[in-house]
Structure formats: structure tokens, C-alpha cells
């Protein structure tokens, strides 16, 4: 399936929204959506890390793991293409390690370069390693933009667009949710529903609203 950039943006933000339709990144969605400021900070941190992680995992997958003519064994060591090792089965373990290391580096780097940004994003960064949205988008890119280990046309651009737009979609619903929950604090919610249960019900209603986007044909 070939995607245009605009199609992909609409698909990732609204139709296949990471939280409401793909069920990725639910822990921060439930945990960090009590206040608007922290929701925005978390959303921005996730978008940032998602984009960088997608970039790095795409490079690793194409140049090291997948047995293609871009593989380093082929173009540096001149191995015949049939003998280039297929390391795609190491995908999960490589990706999670890279993401964990990446988050560490980003944290150290931001702390050095921009203390203001660190103040805004810093406390969310350690939480991000185990956020399934990051590994999710990395794996999803491979599933969608590679076929049998070979990159489809425009897979690099599509990967970056999907990662960034999915992050924006995540931020959007996180901020919306925070807005609703701030109001909920003042509402008279039946006792058994207070806290998480009502948050889930609200998420369900939001998901119904987002289902409306599913009627759109993006072709």
C-alpha cells in the first residue's frame, strides 16, 4: 500500500489514533492526564522521542538487520547479497535496547544544552522507555513500510511522518483528556466511578467520537 504524506498524517493523527484506536501509550494517557501542563509536556516529550527513535530504528533495521543491498555486509564487506545474514529476528531486542539508550542520551543532552527544556520535559523522559508507544511506533514502521525485509518506496519519509504525526495524535488526545479531567475534578461523580473508572469511561466516549473519523476515506 502506498501512502501520500498528507494521507499518512490524517491516518496517524485521527483515524488510527495511537491511544484511542491502536491502544498504544495507555499508561501515560491514564497516568499523566490529570493536569493540562504535564499532559502537554508528556505529549511533547513522547513526540520528540518517537520521531528520533523511529529514525534510529529505521537506520538500524535497513543497514544492519534486514538482508538488503543497503546492509553494511553487502556494501562495505562485499558479501554476495544471498549470503548477507538475516538478523531481522533480533528486531525486538535491538529496538528496546536502542530506545533505552537513546532516552538516556537525550536526557543527558537536553540537561546540558537547554536547562529550560529539561525542566519542561526532563521528568517525563525516564518514564518513556517503558512506554509502549515508542517501541510500538518503531515496530509498526517496520510492519507497514517494509515487505519481507525490503523497504517499500518512500519508507524512510513515511517512517518519519508516521512517527511525528502519531506523536501529535497522542499529544492531542492527552491534552483533550487532561482538559476533561480537570473539569471532572469539580463534578459529582458517583463514588465507585471516581478516579480511574470514570477516566476509562471518558476515554471510551472520546474513542466513540474518534470513530467518526473512520468514515473518512483518505484516498
Amino acid at each position: 500500500m502506498e501512502y501520500g504524506v498528507f494521507q499518512l498524517i490524517i491516518l496517524s493523527i485521527f483515524i488510527n489514533n495511537f491511544v484511542l484506536s491502536r491502544f498504544l501509550g495507555l499508561c501515560p494517557y491514564m497516568g499523566v492526564s490529570k493536569q493540562m501542563d504535564s499532559a502537554l509536556g508528556m505529549g511533547m516529550a513522547v513526540t520528540f522521542v518517537m520521531t528520533i527513535a523511529s529514525l534510529v530504528t529505521w537506520l538500524l533495521y535497513t543497514f544492519f538487520l534486514a538482508p538488503t543491498y543497503q546492509n553494511v555486509f553487502y556494501f562495505i564487506f562485499d558479501t554476495p547479497i544471498q549470503n548477507v545474514p538475516d538478523l531481522t529476528f533480533l528486531r525486538t531486542i535491538v529496538f528496546i535496547l536502542v530506545i533505552a539508550a537513546l532516552v538516556q542520551f537525550i536526557e543527558m543532552y537536553i540537561q546540558k544544552v537547554s536547562p529550560t527544556l529539561y525542566k519542561a520535559l526532563g521528568i517525563y523522559l525516564p518514564l518513556i522507555t517503558t512506554n509502549c508507544a515508542i517501541l510500538g511506533v518503531a515496530v509498526l514502521n517496520i510492519d507497514m513500510f517494509f515487505k519481507d525485509g525490503l523497504p517499500l518506496p518512500n519508507s524512510f519519509i513515511n517512517t518519519l511522518v508516521q512517527a511525528f504525526a502519531s506523536g501529535i495524535g497522542f499529544t492531542l488526545v492527552l491534552v483533550l483528556m487532561a482538559g476533561i479531567r480537570e473539569k471532572l475534578e469539580l463534578a459529582n461523580v458517583p463514588k465507585p466511578f471516581r478516579g480511574l473508572p470514570i477516566a476509562f469511561i471518558v476515554a471510551g466516549l472520546m474513542s466513540i467520537a474518534f470513530l467518526g473519523f473512520a468514515g473518512f476515506s483518505v484516498e
Partner: protein
């Protein structure tokens, strides 16, 4: 705590999904049918028990063989080592499922590799297995894994029954039943888990009063 208590705490009192709100993503995503729920549960039980066992063994081995200083430095890279252990077991599950249960592997999709970031597993490795013996760690892994599976089955029971009128793929509801499509779509997952949590809160409140 006794062995029995370690086992049963994961099923009700500290149920990872309903009580600790951990591992929500796979819970909501794959609970469209009981078959998926059991498949996911089995995968998580395997990874949980295996990683708990290995983590507990490794920590015991390190404590036996390393000096104080070595132990301190190992402690700094404890979490990455756990992640490698977990990711390896997840990859094993990925490969075995693709080889022997292709239909299940296809319907669980990316949620199999995502078991790696399921907070239950790293949480148990760090919070329990690294501090306890192998036997207790296995029991803890089994209890937590079964608790997770039961929660998944409970949610998918409602969603499959109302959403498609089926249970385990067999038609249950009569001719006149119109499936509530919403239940199988994403909103159904949020609504069902919200209602379950509220129900548990209500039961707890009643117990306290009594």
C-alpha cells in the same frame, strides 16, 4: 508470606490489570475475543515465569560470586540486563508462535513484541524476582500471569459475547440477537474496563462497610 498467598495475591488482591492498572495496552487491544485473550495470557505467563526465574537466578549467582564492589557496579546496569533477558524471552515467544500458531500470531500482531514493554514483567523482575528466591519468583510469576490472563478473559468475555454474539468463536446468542458492534470496536474496551473497575470499587466499599 506463604507460598499460597504469593500465588493468590496476583489473582485478586494485587491483580495487575484491575488493581495495579498495569499492562493496559495489550489488555484493551487483544480482548476482542477469548481466544486472543488466552493466547496473549499464555504468552505473558511464559515470559513472566521465565524472566522471573532467570532474573532471580542471575541475582543469586551475582551475590554468590561477585565482590561487594562488583555487585555495586552490576547493580547499575541491573535494569538493562533485565530488559535483555525479557526481550530474549519475548523473541522466543514471537518465533514459536509464528511457527506453530500462525493464526494467533497474526491476530495478536505487534502486541507480541510489545510484551517487552509490558510494565508487569519489568515490574515483577525488579520488584520481586531480584529480591527473592527462584521458587517464590516462579510462584509470583505464575500468580501474576494467571491474574493478568483472568482479567483479559473477563473483559473479552463481555466484548465477544455482546459484540459478536459468540463465545470462543461459537454462536451463543439466538437468531434475533443483533450484535452490539461498539463492544468489539476500541470504545467497547474502554467502557468495559471502566465498568469492571467501578464494580470492583463498589464491592470493596461494601466489604468495608460490612
Amino acid at each position: 508470606m506463604s507460598v499460597g498467598a504469593e500465588f493468590f495475591k496476583g489473582i485478586y488482591k494485587e491483580n495487575p490489570v484491575f488493581r495495579l492498572a498495569l499492562g493496559l495496552c495489550p489488555t484493551l487491544a487483544v480482548s476482542t475475543s477469548i481466544t486472543n485473550a488466552i493466547g496473549m495470557g499464555a504468552a505473558v505467563i511464559f515470559v513472566l515465569v521465565a524472566s522471573n526465574t532467570l532474573v532471580s537466578f542471575l541475582m543469586w549467582l551475582f551475590a554468590k560470586t561477585l565482590s561487594e564492589e562488583g555487585l555495586n557496579s552490576i547493580n547499575k546496569i541491573r535494569i538493562p540486563i533485565f530488559i535483555v533477558v525479557i526481550a530474549s524471552f519475548v523473541t522466543i515467544v514471537e518465533m514459536v508462535m509464528a511457527a506453530y500458531f500462525p493464526a494467533l500470531s497474526e491476530s495478536l500482531g505487534i502486541f507480541i513484541p510489545l510484551i517487552v514493554v509490558n510494565c508487569i514483567i519489568l515490574g515483577r523482575a525488579e520488584g520481586f524476582a531480584s529480591k527473592n528466591g527462584i521458587f517464590l519468583s516462579i510462584v509470583d510469576g505464575l500468580g501474576m500471569g494467571i491474574g493478568f490472563t483472568l482479567a483479559l478473559v473477563a473483559i473479552s468475555f463481555v466484548r465477544e459475547l455482546l459484540g459478536s454474539g459468540q463465545l470462543l468463536g461459537a454462536m451463543i446468542m439466538g437468531e434475533g440477537f443483533k450484535p452490539v458492534l461498539l463492544m468489539i470496536l476500541p470504545p467497547g474496551a474502554f467502557l468495559v474496563i471502566g465498568l469492571y473497575l467501578a464494580g470492583l470499587n463498589w464491592i470493596d466499599a461494601r466489604k468495608k462497610q460490612a
